[in-house]
Symmetry: C2
Subunit: 397 residues, 2 copies
């Protein structure tokens, strides 16, 4: 490689995570420290992932970043704290001189998602986790990256691990104990399946950063939730996961999603992320479970109308059929289901009657079937780099 | 009058009330004692009222009741406690013997609303208040009727008074101190106007009796709200009303509506009374206020998607125009506005731009314009009786 070429180039992937105990609200806006702990499930990168290539070179004259093929302003607020934090970490590691590369080298970054950003799938968590992980690789920074990822987006720290991950809120003012750690690895609960129901919706009205800030300022219920409800729920949820207790896991997941959206509604002015289709999905899940006389399916909603469904492998086919029945595809019915293969299943007349739903054609655009997956990965194959030898984007995945 | 005719016949009317500090949840299901105090505005009977005729006669062989022209089962759960309660009241008054009529006489009751029950306008509150008030007249029972009305429907006790009414939750186990009383009379705040926005909706999914019971059993946020939030809000709201502070009144009304719906969402399974049109109305109000740089309009929602809007007389015309702009009538545009006359007004281009709403044709079916009004009334004109001399319904208003 000629000296004009990038000296180090690394490409990594990172997963999306879905919180089952929700994070909503910061106690420190600058350090991104949360008002309560949270717990998430890492989704498999075979279906949903961010891929990031970072290259550093003494010949680069400025930091540059391309997101989904389009160059963005590198001074965007969340990138600099992340780089600074990494820089500080490097400094304390004390091995800066041992490496040929310095943090003074400028960096080029290219990042792509393999899913539409518009799908509202917490792309920022995967994105910042991937950025933190890739930059740490390229600069040779070791150790826990929670703080680095967190500086980009709070929930990004949970995407640093596979399986089931908690983000402990911590107590320190400097945030050093506000870190992510694995509760159980990705192979812990092999029957667990995840369905992302992408809902047709108008543009999101309130971004989560501004939304949670307003909630912290105005919602008495959010403060109560963070202080008096979440701590016990963290303990409970951890136990359900460790014991693979689907009933407990599912019920608490739904309750916590509902409570998070309740605190959004208690915000002033109120925030509504759920729409009529979201509410129909909630109803569908409860009726499906009632019909079976047991909790076979759970929903959770983040800051948008899309539902994430948890169920077990023996229930996926029937529930997908129930969704297709309640939200008949308006076009491209063959593309309604993406991701993991699901054997087509017919609904029993009893279940159809129990659902008692007026079909809403097109309410759900499509379903992504996936499962629990591992944390960030370094890709060894040089063909996957998103930057060419010249340090510029060479392709869009 | 022949001896075969009813011996006493009385016709009364009673108003609808709209809570600005919401009642949701009972601490005693049998006595209908609430978990928190509440405060409401009594709407004017020129627009919304229940009319009830009660007749008693020694010749009647059974209690009978007709609601909106249709005979109902007199053993329906809420009617008997009301009669029993009235009976007990009569007993303690000690003047039973002084009257020619006895509670042992059977009663015939006919009741009609001048608004569609399906409009979801708390018809049960007006209905039971009217029933309690009319029966008290016909049996000659005096004194506070809070308990009698409450036995029918909790919030009915607030319809016993005009103007601004609080229902004190009370502390006694027997409910004797859980009573309604007037905070300010109907003439206290003459500029105040009320718009009922009737929203197109599917049938209500969760009745309020069952809904609030489930909320009390499952929502930690409701318990916190009742204990830690509402007491201060009652004091605050009373002050805003006494001082005719529209900004304070409006802001707290909106916050309390939102918090009530938040506790519904925190219920398990969750309860959603607001639909996408309700949420658009909320947005419209906040944008309207933001455009004016002051709180000129407030919304509140009960257990359904209809909005009740509070505003002042100088703002009614512009806000009605804003609603018409955002929810263009699909048919009968001339019947879009009922009730008080509102001078048609044009929206400024600035306001239209500030609302930035994609119009939703037909989202609001119609508007009822009304104002604060008096409590129940006895009608003197014998022509208004809903029962004929034979004690059977003679007409439907």
């Amino acid at each position: 490689m000629a000296s004009e070429k990038p000296q180090v180039m690394v490409t990594c992937t990172a997963p999306v995570n879905i919180a089952v105990i929700k994070y909503w609200g910061k106690r420190d806006e600058a350090l991104i420290l949360p008002i309560n702990s949270s717990l998430s499930v890492t989704l498999h990168q075979d279906q949903l992932k961010t891929t990031t290539t970072a290259a550093i070179s003494k010949d680069f004259t400025e930091d540059r970043i391309w997101l989904n093929g389009r160059e963005e302003d590198v001074r965007q607020p969340r990138l600099q704290p992340l780089l600074l934090c990494l820089s500080a970490r490097k400094g304390t590691a004390g091995d800066g001189d041992a490496l040929p590369l310095s943090l003074s080298y400028k960096v080029h970054v290219a990042s792509v998602n393999n899913f539409p950003t518009a799908a509202g799938l917490a792309s920022s968590a995967a994105g910042y986790a991937c950025l933190a992980y890739t930059l740490a690789q390229v600069y040779g920074v070791e150790g826990d990256l929670s703080e680095v990822a967190r500086r980009g987006s709070g929930s990004a720290c949970r995407s640093l691990y596979g399986g089931f991950v908690e983000w402990q809120m911590g107590k320190q003012a400097d945030g050093t104990d506000s870190i992510a750690q694995q509760v159980a690895p990705e192979w812990h609960w092999p029957q667990l399946r995840v369905l992302v129901l992408v809902v047709s919706a108008e543009k999101k009205l309130t971004g989560s950063t501004v939304g949670m800030q307003t909630s912290v300022e105005t919602s008495a219920l959010l403060k109560f939730r963070a202080e008096a409800v979440v701590p016990a729920r963290m303990t409970e949820m951890t136990r359900y996961i460790k014991e693979r207790d689907f009933h407990g896991f599912a019920q608490l997941t739904m309750k916590d999603s509902n409570q998070f959206h309740a605190t959004c509604l208690d915000t002033f002015p109120p925030i509504s992320y759920l729409n009529d289709t979201s509410r129909r999905i909630i109803q569908l899940v409860h009726r499906f479970n009632a019909h079976h006389g047991q909790t076979k399916v759970a929903y959770t909603f983040d800051a948008g109308p899309n539902a994430v469904i948890f169920t077990l492998d023996d229930t996926v086919a029937e529930f997908v059929a129930a969704v297709r029945h309640s939200f008949p595809p308006t076009a491209n019915g063959d593309k309604f289901l993406k991701g993991l293969q699901v054997i087509p299943s017919l609904l029993s007349d009893e279940l159809k009657a129990a659902l008692a739903m007026e079909p809403t054609p097109g309410g759900v655009q499509y379903i992504i079937a996936t499962q629990v997956g591992p944390g960030p990965q370094v890709l060894d194959d040089p063909h996957v780099h998103l930057l060419g030898p010249d340090g510029l984007p060479q392709r869009v995945a």
